[in-house]
Symmetry: C2
Subunit: 144 residues, 2 copies
């Protein structure tokens, strides 16, 4: 890379493997986690080299907060839930990403956080397609 | 309660039991979790009846995001850390509260999320007092 050329954003490989893309909001990629135990989205701001919320500008943090709110309302509306879980952890995948998870009292991890409780259970093709369609309609975004 | 009288904000009893108060930012109480395994703060917006980020107004959400950023910088500076964990879960305590945790690779839960991994380990009085003093100085807030 030529010195001075900004490094382009590239989605972390593990985030790519564990999810399917829903589409793009102004700041963030929206990803659906490939685990039908939950209805679980991830927002990834398309900025290179960012690992913490405090690495973003205040203006971008404000945009991210409203994208979290938008995605929260949509996943709650599409999937129904008893509680939303919102988290930026990043202990395993460092690239800044925000989990937005529609939790149900009947889900296999309740009331614990979802991470590491049960193995991921892939979606059936029909369920995945229907969920992606509903999410894209409500988020008013096109498939990537 | 007389109909029409707004219910005042009251800190959830369990949050009160598990923490010591640091002080108040414009929107939120800042609490130190009584668990010396981690350096762990909680922000609780002082608004009654709120359980989700999407229950706040957009303006209050923007304030909360900047209070999260402020508290993140301060806990990182005071405690040092390898990664910040920021989360609004609320599956057990419904009142909206945001965890801001300075994670270290040497802490007893790394790289897992902290919840439920090891029992809380209370602070020694001296360590707690020194930490509260440093946090209040950096946050420029008075003891409650």
């Amino acid at each position: 890379m030529i010195s001075g050329t900004p490094e382009p954003f590239k989605l972390d490989a593990q985030l790519g493997r564990d999810t399917v893309p829903v589409g793009d909001l102004p700041l963030s990629h929206v990803l659906l986690v490939e685990d039908s135990n939950y209805r679980w989205l991830i927002l990834v701001p398309r900025q290179p080299g960012i690992t913490e919320l405090i690495d973003l500008s205040a203006a971008d943090r404000a945009v991210l907060m409203e994208e979290i709110a938008t995605v929260s309302r949509v996943i709650k509306d599409v999937a129904g839930c008893d509680k939303l879980n919102v988290a930026a952890l990043g202990n395993v995948v460092a690239q800044l990403h925000v989990h937005v998870i529609a939790r149900r009292k009947a889900d296999p991890a309740w009331p614990k956080p979802v991470w590491g409780v049960v193995p991921p259970r892939p979606y059936s093709p029909d369920t995945r397609a229907a969920l992606l369609k509903a999410l894209r309609e409500q988020l008013k975004i096109a498939p990537p």
